[in-house]
Symmetry: C2
Subunit: 349 residues, 2 copies
């Protein structure tokens, strides 16, 4: 193992020059079939394998993309949404023979430093940023360095100059809200996420727009935004249940929040979906396995991951390409956590 067979060893044994061996490796048409056969035979005999690093140095390309995630404390990692994203990314990379370099860190600063290191050190050819957030250092840094990158999510600023892959979250949220309105719901609550993230803002906007379009008022007490992980689902439920008119439907941007609140509701004797319909985003395995299974917006995580990675690789292969962005369609998956509102139930509530 320590004794590595190099291109020179092969060359010597085959009685040719190293450059010839190199040309055999890349299957150059300028080498005769006879020589190719001879060299390949020697490569087999010696157990030669291309040393990847030698090639990297001269070709100035690592065939590797860097993946930047949120800080680990956001529990992004533990979410199957992340896993599915990663699955899609991974598939795309393998199709194109690229590899992935994963970044993680417990603080934003640590992540930023990692990114700087991998960019400056030319450890990766391009970067895939798996979030879009206000006050982020990473994207501006990549822009300033004119380093190739793709954002998964709509960039906070200058979307025209930035390649990104995203769902239309405003639209998706509108559709989900309309779907619930279509089921007869008028008091629809919304439990969102940290509004630093573009995705949270978009979805809230879509919800508000849909309500407004249909002439339905929003009571700000139905909105529970920015639920940090410390926030207690029981607390959310309590705050909702003391209202004179409680919402008959709730939209969650996070499936886990939906589950915990659902559990809290059913413990207080609120039946789902009869008394409160529940809807959420992402449609991972979590929604499928919930009891009752969740009605969700399928954001197509695997495809999101796949498209973002392959867009990045396209960009790397043709650096002058136009910076096209991509919107992955969503669709609503109806399951048992939501149902048509019975008029009498509504009156009673």
């Amino acid at each position: 193992m320590n004794v590595s067979v190099t291109i020179k060893d092969v060359a010597k044994k085959a009685g040719v020059a190293p450059s010839t061996v190199s040309r055999v490796i890349s299957d150059s048409p300028r080498i005769s079939e006879k020589t190719k056969r001879k060299v390949r035979k020697v490569m087999d005999e010696l157990g030669y394998h291309l040393n990847y690093n030698g090639r990297v140095l001269v070709s100035q390309s690592t065939q590797t993309i860097g993946i930047v995630t949120k800080v680990s404390s956001d529990h992004f990692f533990e979410n199957p949404f992340f896993s599915e994203l990663l699955r899609g990314i991974s598939d795309a990379c393998h199709e194109q023979d690229y590899s992935m370099y994963l970044t993680t860190g417990n603080t934003e600063e640590a992540i930023f430093q990692e990114v700087v290191k991998m960019v400056q050190g030319k450890r990766v050819d391009g970067v895939l940023v798996l979030y879009s957030r206000e006050d982020d250092q990473v994207v501006p840094f990549l822009r300033e360095s004119s380093f190739p990158f793709v954002v998964l999510g709509k960039p906070v600023d200058r979307p025209g100059e930035t390649m990104y892959v995203d769902n239309d979250n405003v639209q998706a949220s509108k559709e989900m809200t309309r779907y619930l309105i279509g089921l007869g719901h008028e008091r629809i609550g919304y439990v969102g996420g940290n509004s630093q993230f573009e995705v949270a803002r978009d979805r809230l906007e879509g919800y508000r727009a849909a309500m407004k379009d249909q002439g339905l008022p929003i009571d700000e007490k139905w909105l529970k935004n920015d639920p940090s992980d410390k926030q207690d689902p029981d607390q959310i439920v309590e705050q909702l249940l003391v209202l004179e008119k409680i919402p008959t439907a709730l939209i969650f941007t996070d499936e886990y929040n939906a589950l915990t609140v659902m559990r809290s509701l059913s413990r207080r004797g609120v039946s789902i979906p009869e008394q409160v319909s529940i809807a959420a985003f992402n449609n991972t395995v979590v929604s499928r396995l919930a009891d009752p299974p969740l009605t969700t917006v399928d954001t197509q995580a695997i495809q999101l991951g796949h498209e973002s990675a392959s867009s990045l690789i396209d960009l790397l292969k043709r650096p002058d390409m136009v910076k096209k962005s991509m919107i992955i369609p969503t669709r609503i998956v109806e399951r048992e956590s939501s149902c048509r509102l019975e008029r009498n139930t509504q009156k009673k509530a």
Copy 2:
């Protein structure tokens, strides 16, 4: 960005030799403070950053570990257990300034080829194999190449010669079985996993041993092993419910299987935990969020990942070290999915 500043540029501008710059980078004590200051100033001015690949080539070390997972079709990826593992691995790598190279593939052959490529191409310094399975090509290949590797899970053969990190799954399964027996259960069913994997065999063994120790008979109809993903939870439940004496407790090696079976049970009016207690392995976020929350064996995924990665890195730093293995302790986390069996309920069933 395209114009890279190299060590030579710095040397020229600072009026020193490239070797001196290299020594400044590694903060060698043989260079005077005055020269160091001068060189560092120039590095700043030119915006110099170490090119990682140049170093890799000469040092013959990539500071990268390869991570080998099961085939993606096993849904290992979508499981939060995997995410937590990855989180632990990632933390350990960052502590030691290593990076991770992720392998995936849809077939075993594809994964094997990936491993060969990264080992032969010297793309990584060592490999972390996240499973232990019969008829696996990867581990024998690594052994034969005497390439440094660590297995997460007990190796199928020659455990003495192999570094691994694992729980004591036999013991953990015994304890869980005893725990249920301690709650008064005598008819305990077991829904396991693909017995190609060492972990599945160990847990089944533990369950059998605990039952035997306590003089409790096992009806083979209580055992549902090897539930491939296609297997229907409803089918499992039907097969159990037609039995004259249905089990009063069920142990699952997979949390997802536990959830689907639980749902199927409650749809048929079987109440959990009053009529059937449920217990599972892994204690990821899934168990916490289930309704009712699952009693589980906490296998400490984050720590498993952390220890396996740092063991591998230790091995890389000191190749002659003794191949120590490591057992991560487990503990039972009691939640509402299991309860003491009421005598009358048992008689009735």
